[in-house]
Amino acid sequence: MGSMHSERKIEFKAYDTDGDWRIVEASADARLSLMDILRSNGFDIKGVCGGLALCGTCIVKVISGTGELAPPNDDEAAMLEMLPDAGTGSRLACQLPLSLSMNEMVFGLQNYE
């Protein structure tokens, strides 16, 4: 690994589908997606297709901070369109790279059906 002294920490809040929440800490420098970090923090995300925006089973709702995220690309937008319960603020966690802008945001896991 390169020089670590400027590692940039982020913290955000995530609700699981039962309504329980946890604060998740991560480094914005890790080349991981929101799905990866939620999974490794014990959230039960299916993520059938492994991060290709092809299955929709990692759908999350951005409860606060939507404006901070880059809008969905075509693949993600096309998949979101196929998910009956996606609404404004719904995103695919596999398509969201960890970034500083996620600091203090709030996410909620959605049932993917």
């Binding site: 059938v48 297709c49 092809l54 929709g56 196929m82 319960d85 993917y112 059906e113």
Partner: protein
């Protein structure tokens, strides 16, 4: 009734390769899949994505791999029941099984191989109260025979390719078609989207964008679909049929009810031969679980080979297997 040596549940890559490994040992297979096409996840989720970790193929798409597997198993002439899911597996007094599908097809088999992957692919259903209540009474999640909709009032929801394609087909057949879409643009194939807009402008199709279906009403049968337009009015649209088309997603389904030892959503097996807690029932591919399990196609292929050698004892109890390479023995089609 269909009679076979081995009934393979699931026509994904692993179920298909199981036909090959069984065939080498002279065991015939019948394959059942809930989908109307073979290939499992590869055909349903990623037909055109290249896969890079199939031994011997630096790169091959999902669709191509399934094509190759179908060619490879052709000499063993497997039979297929597609578009039906296996609902029940009943043990018979002689230790064989009777399997019953959703369409009532009955299959008799000496051995059952569950290659069910992530489960049955099922339609994604919108969260609308009472949706289930009207299933079969106006609510359908697929269009099998467009003629069924002749002269009727149909409300379709969805914005993907299948919603657009079926809207086009039904617009010529149904009395009236309403397409309800959450967005205000369509991302499917551009010419399809263009045709939809044309039909809407010509008044041949009711297109309601930036809206979603909220509720269904009707006494015993669907009569109306409630639709809410974002930031605006609520409509109540007269409808004989309501067809949500949001694609398919895998759900475990009936496998969980067959009395097998399970580990979450997977069937527990022993790595000796990938047998389950029930004699003569094996589970291979994504559907099984054991220490060190990797959900990879190549691991499923390996599991199929070991399964077949073990299943042989039940199909040919009086014979011993002589291990032979295919290079030595060929494949001896039947």
């Amino acid at each position: 009734m269909i009679s076979t040596d081995i009934c393979v549940i699931g026509a994904g890559p692993v179920g298909l390769f199981a036909v090959f490994e069984a065939g080498l040992l002279k065991m015939r297979c019948h394959v059942v899949d809930a989908l109307t096409q073979v290939g499992g996840q590869l055909t349903e989720i990623y037909p055109r994505k290249p896969i890079y970790d199939i031994p011997g193929y630096p790169e091959i798409t999902g669709e191509q791999l399934i094509g190759q597997l179908m060619a490879q198993i052709a000499p063993f002439r497997p039979s297929f029941t597609l578009g039906e899911r296996v609902e029940q597996v009943d043990k018979q007094p002689d230790d064989t099984f009777l399997l019953t599908t959703s369409a009532g097809t009955v299959i008799s088999a000496g051995v059952v191989v569950i290659a069910g992957g992530l489960g049955c692919f099922e339609p994604r259903k919108p969260a609308i109260p009472d949706l289930q209540l009207y299933e079969g009474k106006g609510v359908a999640y697929s269009v099998r025979d467009p003629e069924v909709f002749r002269g009727r009032q149909v409300v379709i929801v969805g914005g993907g390719d299948s919603a657009l394609d079926w809207t086009l087909v039904l617009t010529g057949i149904a009395d009236k078609v309403t397409l309800v879409h959450r967005g205000n643009t369509f991302r499917g194939a551009p010419d399809t989207a263009g045709k939809i807009q044309e039909l809407a402008s010509a008044g041949k199709l009711d297109l309601i964008t930036r809206a979603h279906a909220t509720h269904l009403t009707g006494a015993g049968r669907l009569e109306r679909v409630g639709v809410s337009v974002y930031g605006g009015e609520s409509l109540l649209i007269p409808a004989d049929d309501f067809v949500p088309l949001f694609g398919l997603t895998p759900k475990l389904g009936p496998i969980a009810e067959w009395g097998l030892n399970m580990d979450k959503d997977a069937v527990s097996v022993t790595t000796l031969d990938y047998s389950t807690s029930e004699k003569r029932i094996y589970a291979i591919g994504d559907i099984n679980q054991y220490p060190g399990k990797l959900k990879l196609i190549l691991c499923g292929f390996h599991e199929a080979a070991l399964m077949a050698r073990s299943a042989f004892q039940f199909i040919y109890p009086d014979q011993r297997i002589n291990f032979k390479y295919t290079t030595v023995y060929g494949i001896n089609a039947f």
